[in-house]
Structure formats: C-alpha cells, structure tokens
Symmetry: C3
Subunit: 209 residues, 3 copies
C-alpha cells in the first residue's frame, strides 16, 4: 500500500471527515457560530497530522498541498451545522467511525515518521500524536480539558496500533501485514472500550493541594 494509493487516500479522507464531525458537534454544543464550527471541524480533522508534520519536519503538511484535504473538513463542518440534531442522536455510530479513523491515523502517522528517519520509539509516539492530536486541539480551542485525559480509554489503543506498525515495518514485512493488524488492534480495542466503558487507571489516594 504505497503512500499515494487511491485506497489509502480515500481511507484518510474518511478518517478526516469523521474526526471533523466530532469537532463540529463540540462546536455546536458550545454555541459557536458557523465559523467556529468550521474551524473546530478542520482542527479536529487535520490537527493531528499538522502537529506530526511540524515536529518531523515534513512541512508544509500534506493538507496544505492537496485541496481535497481541505475540502473534506469543510464538508463535514457544513454537514454538522445543518444536521447536528440527527448527528447528535447517532453519536454511537459516529464514535465507531471515529475509532476507525483513530486506527488508520495511528498507523499511517507512525509509518510517515519512520519514513522521515525517526527511530522506533519516537515514530510510535508520533503515530499516537497523529491519532489524538486533532481531538486535543479541538478541546483546547473549545475551552475544555482534553477528553483524552479523563474519559474512556482512547490513547492507549492508538499507541498499541502505532507500535505494531513500527515493529512490523522494521521487520520488512509486507505492507498489509504492517498496516492491517495495527489498524485492527487500535480499532478493536477502542470499540471494546466504548462498549464496555473501559477507563484508564486514575491516581489512588487524595491529591495533596
């Protein structure tokens, strides 16, 4: 699956679209205007990739070199603006798609970082950043503590998927063996976390102030 395969492009655009929907929904709930909806949609869909590209020196980011990457979050933002009551009721379905986007982004992000010469540990970290960065930027702009810090298990599946991709890629395995299990691990773990309401451990004992 080379980086310019049409399938990969479509999958990436779908991932961006679904991430952008979640950004638009947050904006609607914060009573932002249409511009806020569009910016939160764009930030959530593209923010993780931007952050990765700036850190690994792959600027300008792909999304600034290919207009399709910009069109997709605009479409998602307008969809949210118009149909947010329906989308809000379908939140579970949106979350499943979001898990698919997370699985895809953590793998493609890690592989891109390896491509740019990063070592295995930083590359896996960059894969996780690609998956969770957009949602963190969304929450910062919307004035809330990132949900990835205190909600359902979200980042660990992304790190696991990215780690698989890095390890398999360094074995020189076929690209499908690199990508598919990585996406599947992240997606499956995340969906189980949603369904069973798994959460990450919290510190024990009272916090000293």
């Amino acid at each position: 699956m080379p980086a310019d395969s049409p399938l990969l492009l479509v999958l990436e655009l779908v991932g961006i679209f679904v991430f952008a929907l979640s950004g638009g929904l947050v904006a609607v709930r914060k009573h932002l205007d249409i511009f806020g909806v569009l910016v939160l949609a764009g930030t959530t869909g593209l923010g993780g990739g931007f952050l990765r590209d700036v850190l690994i020196d792959a600027t300008p980011p792909t999304a600034l070199a290919d207009w399709r990457y910009l069109l997709v979050p605009v479409a998602a933002g307008l969809t949210t603006f118009r149909f947010h009551p329906t989308l809000g009721r379908m939140e579970r379905l949106v979350n499943i798609f979001d898990a698919a986007g997370l699985g895809l982004f953590c793998v493609t992000g890690a592989l891109k970082a390896l491509d740019h010469g990063l070592g295995p540990v930083p590359a896996a970290l960059m894969g996780m950043v690609t998956g969770i960065g957009g949602g963190m930027a969304r929450d910062l702009l919307a004035g809330r503590v990132p949900v990835v810090f205190s909600s359902e298990l979200y980042a660990t599946p992304a790190l696991a998927g990215a780690a698989w991709a890095v390890l398999a890629q360094r074995q020189g395995w076929d690209v499908w063996v690199v990508a598919l299990p990585g996406v599947a691990v992240c997606f499956g773990w995340r969906v189980l976390a949603i369904m069973r309401n798994w959460r990450a451990p919290v510190p024990s004992g009272p916090a000293s102030v």
Copy 2:
C-alpha cells in the same frame, strides 16, 4: 510593493502594534502581571505570523530575524501596562486599527504563502490564519474560548481579503491591484461588522447533549 519595501514594513509594524495592544488589554482585564501583559501582547501581535511560518516551512519566522518585530510588541505591552484605562476607553478606535491590521495581515500572509509554493486554496487559508491566529493564541493563553468563534464577524472578512490577493496575484496583476483591494475588502467589511454588529450565523435548533 516588494516584500522589503519600507512602506510595507511600517504597515506591518503598525498592524503588530495594534494587535499587541488588544492582547495587552485582555491581560489587564485578566489581572495578569507585567510579564503576562508582555507575553499576551507579543503572542497577539506575532502569533499569526509564527503559526503561518511554521506551517509553510518559512522558519525561523521573520520576527525572530529582525529585532524591530520584537521591539514593537514590547512597546505595545508597556503602553498598555501604563495607559490601560485610557486605551480601554478608546476601544472603538483600537478596534478600527485592529481591522486595518487584519486587512494587512490577511493579504501579506496569503502572498507569503504563495511565495513559498502553496496552492491558491491553502494560501488563502494561510492568509486568514495570519490575520486571526494571534487573537486565537491570545484567547487560549488567557483561558477563554477564542472570540473569533462566537463574536462579531471577524474571520470571513480576512478570508475574503486573502482570497482576493491570491486570485489577483495569479493573474499577474500589479502589486497594488493585488494588495489594496484585498486590504480594503477585509477592512471595510470588518468595520461595517463592528458598526452594525453583524454576526455569523449560528446552528439552528437545540444542541443534542
């Protein structure tokens, strides 16, 4: 109007100064100390350009290569620190200058992005980012949802001015025909929005939670 024209430099520094004043005023209202006033002034004046330069790979940003770009927000911060009651009463005037800064930044930002090889759509987006990025960073640091999301019409005029600049530049038109109408569209639209209290549309219907 080449990028190193003295007129353009003066206009840019004036724009930075006025943006920085607005950052300083927010800091004063948040009861920050003098350091907070200076940092919010600097972030607001320079943040949009920093963000653009990092994304289009024009680092280090101009402001780090030319001390005058750093001196101006310091001067604006100290001015705010000392004279904030007067400035606060002149807020309408400050807003008019801010509109001028917005008009200038959206055009120069878009042209710089074109110069660095971006396509027309991303270049117009980078122009808007140059105009609104500083204010967004200011609001993040001050712990409030960016006013650009939910207040008067602000980003759309910047995008319109940037779009004009991109289109005219690609026609190969004279630099004044590229720059002046772009600045004028953004400035005029923004001033009308202030005067008539125009706002962007908000989503209709209740937000599902």
Copy 3:
C-alpha cells in the same frame, strides 16, 4: 562544555525529570487518568524545547531523535502517579529543583538558538521560551491560565540567565563563563523569589471593561 558532553546530557535529563514531575502533579490535582499524567509530564518536560526547535527550524527536536529524552518524562510520570502524596508534601523541594531546571534550560536554549543563526535578542527570547514553554503548555492542557502570568516571579530570571549566556557567548568567552553565571543568575533569583514570595508588578488602577 560541548553540546554532547555527558555532564550536560545528565543535567538536561534531570531538568526534564523535575519539570515533568510538576506536570504530573498538576494532572493528579485535576483528577486526570494515568494517560493524562504521562502526557502532562511529557509536555511539561519537553514542551519548551519542542517549541524552540520548531521556531528555530531545528526539527525534528532532539527529544524525538534520542529515546532517553522520552524515557525520562515517562519515568517522572509513573513516579508521580504512584507517589503523588509524598511529592505533593515535598513541593518546596520540587520547586527548588524546578528552579535549577529553569536555569539550565534558559542557558542551553539561548545557546542553541545562537548556534542556529538567530541574533542576540531573539536568541535570549528563545532561551526564555525553552525555560517557560513547557509549563505554559502544561497549564493550557490542564485548562488553567499559565501560572507564569500571575504567580511568583518566574520568567524574568529565565530571561536574565538567557541574556547573560547570549552576551558572554558573543564575547567569545570560555564556555564555563558563558554557562555557569547564566544558570546561577536564573537559579538564584528564582529561589529568592520563591523564598521571599516576590511577584512581578501588576497594572495599577481598575481595568476598564
């Protein structure tokens, strides 16, 4: 003291560890889960250097090229997660170490910026950014106004130490004469500020609204 001296590496890692502890403590007090603790630890320990490296075009940042830089904040995060009640009671000691980290980072940050061709004023500013950037990112992610804006004197000592390093380096003085007084000025000033509760001046008069 060349950039790859073992002593400097150890000092940097200690500085990152202590900064990361402060990030972990904030996460515990915000009731974040273990992932939040690790991310705030990593952001606080590495954020200032990341911000500097992105701005001066030294990407990918050192921390992404050397796994020890990533291991240290993970260790600090796990330490905080497990021992936060003890660490919370030792806060004064943590603050003293934090002052040492600040002193070290402002000097190394300024020297790295000079190395990458920045002028003296921007280089001193980048030194300060290296020292305070991680704590600012920590506070943004934790949803509070950066304490550096409104708490004890913090940024001025960092700027002073960075300024010394820049001036001495440009005189061509020996590396110890460049580094040690810079670290000492920042550390000493900061420790005095903690002990005597020095604060930066705040704007006088009521803020107009």
